[in-house]
């Protein structure tokens, strides 16, 4: 409960600070929550950046499982593209402009970051990485 209120306050603050992130309340709440976590982890954290998110998305860390060297393995290098799972099922585009439902269900976002970061990086993503990623996709 406390956390939600705090998140709301941070959301309000961040809108004042950097303007409305994505103009979608559910997504903004997720970003606000991530921002809170990022600030808790690093007091000097200055906010999410789409440019960093882009670099993160396109990188090939290959530190996770061998079949999934990069986010682009499944999501393709273009956020506008329809991706494909390794089992062959289509994945809707990650870019919010192409798929407005993206990053609006906190449980889904948490679940997929948990899985895909572990598969690709072999570790959990940091709140900063997650926020940058969503910010980048929201700008696409």
């Amino acid at each position: 409960m406390n956390k939600t209120i705090l998140a709301a306050i941070v959301a309000a603050l961040s809108i004042l600070a950097v303007g409305p992130a994505t103009a979608e309340p559910a997504r903004d709440a997720i970003l606000a929550d991530l921002l809170l976590q990022a600030k808790t982890a690093d007091g000097g954290f200055g906010g999410f950046a789409a440019e960093r998110g882009k670099g993160f998305f396109l990188a090939s860390p290959a530190s996770g499982k061998p079949d999934t060297p990069s986010c682009t393995t499944c999501h393709t290098p273009s956020p506008q593209n329809t991706g494909k799972t390794r089992a062959g099922k289509e994945i809707k585009p990650m870019a919010v402009s192409a798929n407005p439902a993206r990053f609006t269900d906190p449980a889904e976002v948490e679940k997929w970051f948990g899985r895909n970061c572990n598969s690709v990086l072999g570790r959990d993503c940091t709140a900063a990485e997650k926020g940058d990623f969503i910010t980048f996709m929201a700008s696409q």
């Binding site: 799972t85 390794r86 089992a87 099922k89």
Partner: protein
């Protein structure tokens, strides 16, 4: 050394008998062609051929009692001694001068009738047990259907041999009798030997035959309807599980739980963090609930064809349906590029080709490889 023929031709084979004969030839040909050659999704036609052959045999049994003289079974019941004498005659190239079926022909008829009937009956046992279709779906287990399939196949080859022998016999006897016997089965007429007068022939009793046929048909329909009303043995309608459909259908088609045994589901659900080279972790409560649901509906609890064939998992990859011997064998003739094509996506997307994948039935007749959109 053929018997001299006079000019008079007499009607030996009545019309219903001739129709029976040639319709039987047609339905057995369709049955053999679809059984030996056609791909799996032709099963429907094969089964209809089976129904037709079965109906024709029933008709022939009735006509054996009420048909005209040479259709009646009494006209071609011969003692073993007569049969041996006839065969000895053939060896010496002599015709025995039978107007109707001769003793060798009679043996062939009884052999064919027994063989064809057994093929039809075993066919319906296979259909009911393995495919859970047809009148016996509610009463025959997969194991019984599987055993019947072996018999059905062996007998089908035996039938090919017997049909070849039948045709050879017709050719030989036609030469001995200097009478085209195949043509006689078309026209119904045979010429009498010189100096022989037409024998006394009983005529058919169509009304009695019709009444009997109606009674048999009514009984068969009633029995068939009762059987067909029974739910298929070992199949059930699984209430949809939206959580399963969402969580386990995110990266591939949500496999029906009947496709793997409980031990495989158990093992797979305990290692979702390394699921075929990927992390597919779930919140613990969801994981436990889905694992329990999968185990409760695992292949052991079904008697469908798919549940039976995939129960024998690969020892190396007990979690992969596509690693089972059966899966590999049934899909080995499909070009690998078909699986990678956009319309299919991969081996794991069973539902791209199997229209009934979500029910776990995997019916032969629901198979359709999607055409690639350019």
């Amino acid at each position: 050394m053929s018997a001299e023929k006079g000019g008079t031709a007499v009607r030996i084979w009545d019309l219903p008998l001739r129709l029976f004969h040639w319709l039987l030839v047609l339905s057995i040909s369709v049955g053999a062609a679809t059984g030996f050659l056609a791909p799996a999704w032709w099963l429907g036609v094969h089964v209809w051929a089976g129904y037709a052959v079965g109906a024709l045999i029933v008709f022939r049994l009735i006509w054996a009692a009420y048909g005209s003289e040479y259709s009646r079974v009494a006209s071609f019941l011969f003692s073993p001694r007569e049969t041996i004498a006839h065969l000895a005659g053939i060896v010496r190239g002599r015709s025995s001068g039978h107007l109707g079926h001769n003793p060798a022909g009679a043996v062939m008829i009884f052999g064919l009738a027994a063989l064809v009937s057994t093929i039809v009956v075993t066919g319906f046992i296979v259909l009911g047990g393995q495919e859970k279709h047809g009148v016996l779906a509610g009463v025959v287990s997969y194991a019984t259907g599987h055993a019947a399939r072996e018999i059905h196949q062996v007998l089908a080859f035996a039938l090919l041999a017997l049909v070849a022998a039948h045709v050879a016999g017709v050719v030989v006897e036609s030469r001995l009798e200097s009478e085209n016997l195949a043509l006689a089965m078309l026209t119904g007429r045979k010429r009498l030997a010189a100096g022989r007068s037409a024998p006394k022939m009983r005529s058919s009793r169509p009304l009695a035959a019709l009444v009997t046929l109606a009674i048999v048909a009514a009984l068969a329909t009633a029995g068939g309807a009762t059987l067909a009303g029974m739910p298929p043995l070992g199949l059930r309608d699984l209430p949809p599980n939206p959580v399963y459909a969402k969580e386990c259908g995110a990266c591939h088609h949500a496999f029906h739980p009947s496709l793997l045994p409980a031990a495989s589901w158990d093992g797979m659900m305990a290692h979702l963090d390394d699921h075929f080279g990927e992390d597919a972790s779930l919140p613990e409560a969801t994981r436990v609930a889905l694992a329990a649901w999968l185990v409760a509906n695992a292949s052991e609890t079904w008697d469908s064809e798919a549940a039976n064939v995939f129960r024998r998992v690969s020892p190396d990859e007990p979690w992969r349906i596509t690693a089972t011997r059966y899966w590999k064998r049934r899909h080995q003739n499909i070009d690998p590029t078909v699986f990678t094509a956009k319309a299919v996506g991969g081996k794991a997307n069973c539902n791209a080709c199997h229209g009934d994948a979500s029910s776990g039935r995997y019916d032969d007749q629901a198979i359709a490889i999607p055409k690639e959109k350019s």
